[in-house]
Symmetry: C2
Subunit: 377 residues, 2 copies
C-alpha cells in the first residue's frame, strides 16, 4: 500500500521495471512517505548527559549520538549536549524532560528509581542479564513494551543508547577467601548491591566517588567498588593502596545506558526524524558496548602490567551466597512492589531462564574452551 | 567551523541564546550541512541478500535494513531487496556490486575468500573473537581500516550489518568422549573447519544443506554441522536420527554479517544518506545479534524439551586439540598468504590477546558464577 504509493511517486526514477524488479517488489517494504512540509521542518533540541567530562567516554558518546543525528537529518535536528546540573540539578532531569523543559537525557533508568522503583530493572539487576541478553529481552521478549509502560506516566519514552560494560566486584585491602571475610567488611557500593552485601553481613555504605579515596585512606573502608577498569583507573582507585581487584561483578555484568525523550515532542516529529533518533540510539548502544570492552581491556592490561594490580576471582562459595542473596532481593522487589513491578520481574525472570540456557551452551561454553591451555598464534 | 556556520543558518530557530546554550556550544559537534540540492536527490538501489526466505531471519533482516533506510531518508533512498541468484548467480554477486550492476549485498565476508582469502578473517576464525570482541577490533583496534583495505581492490566498502549468532559443533550418531572418536569420523562441515578437523584425523567433507539429510540417512556420514539451533531446526537436522547435539562451536562462536556497498556510488551520495546507511547497518548489527540469541534460545528450548535432543559438551582434551589445530591453521594462513594477510592476522592476534584477557575476567567469569547452584527467582 505505502509501497505502491511510493512506486507511483517515483515512476520517473532511473531504471526500467524488469522481472527482477517486479520480484523485488514482493520482497520489499511498506514505507509511507511524509509530506514535504513535515520533511523540511527544523528542530533544535537539548540533551542532558548524566556524565560530565571526567567520566571516560560517556559524554563523548552523547556528543557522537547528537552528531550522527545532525548528519543523518541533514541538519534538521540539531541537539545540544549539556553536562549534568547545567539546566537543573541532575536528579530533576527526568522531570525536566517530562515537562518538556529539555527534550532528552542520556542516563541510566536506575537514576529514576526513587520516582519509580521498577525502572531499575531496565538497567541491570544482580545476577541478571548480560548486555546481549538484555537486548534480546527488550526487542523480542517484551522488555521494551514494559519499559514504555513504566515510563508512560512520566510522558517520556526510552531507547537503549549505550552501555557501561562490565564492572568489577571491587578493590580490597585483604583477600576474600571465604564468606567469613565479608562479615563486618566496611564496603562502599551502591543501589541494590547494598542490600545484597548487607544480607551477607557486610557493612555496606555508599558515598560519592570523590569521598572514596578520603574514606579509604582514613581507615574507614576495607573495600570499595565504582566501575570497571577504565573508570576506576580514571578516578585513581588503583593508587589508593587496595592491592586486590576482584571479579566478577555479580551485580553489574553490564549496564544499559538509556536515551529518554519527551514523548509528545518525539511524536510531533516527522516520521523520518523519529526513526533517525531511534536507529542512531540503537547504533550507539552497539558502539558503546564495543567501546567499553576496548577501553576496559586496555585499562586492565595497564593496571596489571604497569601498576602491579592483583586481579582475583571471588571463590565459589561467596559467589553462590551472593546468588542466593541476590535472588532474595529480587523476590523482595517483586512482592513489595506494585503490579507493574510484579509483571516486570516476572517477565525478566522468564526471559532470563530462557536466555541463560542458551548463553551457557554457547557463550559460556565457548569462553571456557578458549581459555584452555593450547598454542594459538 | 561547520558548527558556527550552522548556528548562523539556524539563528531564526526558537529559543534565546542563554548561558546554558553558550556552554552547550563548546560541547557540541562539527556538523557541516550539505547543499539543499544534494539533499533532495533521490536514489533507487538494489541489495542482494545471501539468504533466501528458507533461512531463518536473514532475508527479513535485509528487508528491515532497507525499510529503516527508506524511512530515515524520507523515501530518498529506496532499496529493493533481492534474494540470491536473482540477478547473477550468488558467487558473482560481489563482482556485480564491484562493477555497479547492483549497489549492495548483505552477505558474509567469507563468501569472497576465493577472490581474496584475507576476507575470511572479517567474519569469524576458529577460536577467534566473540561478536562483541569483533566489534571492539573493528571500531577501535584497526579492524575496519584493514577490512576497507582488503576490499579496496574491488571498489567496494563493507559495514557490519548483522550476526549469525553462535553455531553448534554439530550433530552426531555417537558420543564424542575422546580424541580417538574423531579418527576417521565422516563429518560434514565447511571452510576452515575442514582443515582443522582433518588435522585431528576426521574425514571432513562438505556438501549443500539439502544433501546432508540424504548422505546421513544413506550411512555416508557420522555427523554434520550447519548452523545454530534455530537454523538447524528449520532445516530439520533434529529429525535425521543423530541424537547428540554438541557444543561449543570452537569454529563459529558467532559470525559477522556484512553490508557490501559499491564505493563510487556510496561516495556519490549526499553525506546524510551515507551516514544513514552506515548507522542503519550498525543498528541492524545490534538487532541481528539479539535476534539470533532470542531465536536460538527458543529453538534450543524446543529441541531439548519437545524433541528430546541430547545436548553435550565436547570434552576438554578434544577442545584443547581443536585449539592447537586451529592455531596451526591460522599460522598457515598467515605464512602462506600475502603481506595483507600477514598484517591482518597480526592485528587479529594482537587484538584477540588484549580482548580475551578482559573477556575472561568479566564475561566468562560472570557466566560461570551465574551458573553456580543458587536459588534465584
Amino acid at each position: 500500500m505505502g509501497y505502491q504509493h511510493l512506486m507511483k511517486r517515483r515512476h520517473l526514477l532511473k531504471g526500467a521495471i524488469t522481472a527482477s524488479t517486479l520480484t523485488a517488489m514482493t520482497l520489499s517494504h511498506s514505507y509511507t512517505p511524509k509530506s514535504a512540509n513535515a520533511q523540511s521542518a527544523e528542530f533544535r533540541w537539548r540533551m542532558v548527559s548524566r556524565w560530565d567530562d571526567q567520566f571516560p567516554g560517556q559524554l563523548v558518546a552523547a556528543r557522537r549520538l547528537a552528531d550522527r543525528i545532525a548528519v543523518m537529518s541533514a541538519g534538521r535536528l540539531i541537539i545540544d549536549v549539556l553536562p549534568p546540573d547545567e539546566v537543573v540539578p541532575f536528579p530533576e532531569t527526568k522531570t525536566a524532560v517530562s515537562d518538556g523543559t529539555i527534550e532528552m537525557s542520556r542516563s541510566l533508568s536506575y537514576d529514576w528509581r526513587a520516582q519509580s522503583p521498577v525502572l531499575e530493572v531496565f538497567m541491570v539487576l544482580p545476577y541478571g542479564f548480560t548486555q546481549k541478553e538484555m537486548s534480546a529481552w527488550l526487542y523480542y521478549l517484551g522488555g521494551q513494551e514494559l519499559w514504555d509502560e513504566a515510563y508512560a506516566p512520566f510522558g517520556v519514552k526510552a531507547f537503549p543508547a549505550g552501555s557501561l560494560g562490565a564492572q568489577s566486584f571491587g578493590w580490597f585491602s585483604n583477600e576474600i577467601n571465604s564468606l567469613s571475610d565479608l562479615q563486618g567488611l566496611r564496603f562502599r557500593t551502591t543501589g541494590v548491591a547494598m542490600d545484597v552485601m548487607s544480607k551477607l553481613g557486610a557493612a555496606a555504605t555508599t558515598m560519592g566517588r570523590t569521598e572514596i579515596g578520603q574514606a579509604f585512606q582514613a581507615g574507614e573502608l576495607d573495600g570499595f567498588e565504582l566501575g570497571g577498569p577504565l573508570v576506576d583507573m580514571q578516578y585513581g582507585l588503583h593508587v589508593l593502596g587496595a592491592p586486590y581487584y576482584y571479579f566478577p561483578s555479580y551485580n553489574q555484568p553490564s549496564g544499559l545506558v538509556e536515551l529518554v525523550v519527551n514523548r509528545a515532542q518525539y511524536e510531533a516529529l516527522p516520521t523520518d526524524l523519529q526513526q533517525i533518533i531511534e536507529i542512531a540510539a540503537q547504533a550507539e548502544y552497539e558502539q558503546g558496548l564495543a567501546e567499553a570492552n576496548f577501553g576496559n581491556a586496555q585499562a586492565l592490561n595497564t593496571l596489571v602490567n604497569q601498576h602491579q594490580v592483583q586481579v582475583r576471582q571471588l571463590p565459589p562459595d561467596v559467589l553462590t551466597a551472593l546468588g542466593n542473596a541476590s535472588g532474595e532481593v529480587i523476590a523482595d522487589m517483586r512482592s513489595n512492589g506494585n503490579e507493574m513491578m510484579q509483571q516486570t520481574i516476572d517477565s525478566f525472570l522468564s526471559a532470563r531462564q530462557l536466555l541463560k540456557a542458551w548463553s551457557q551452551v554457547s557463550e559460556q561454553n565457548y569462553l571456557n574452551a578458549r581459555g584452555l591451555d593450547f598454542t594459538y598464534g
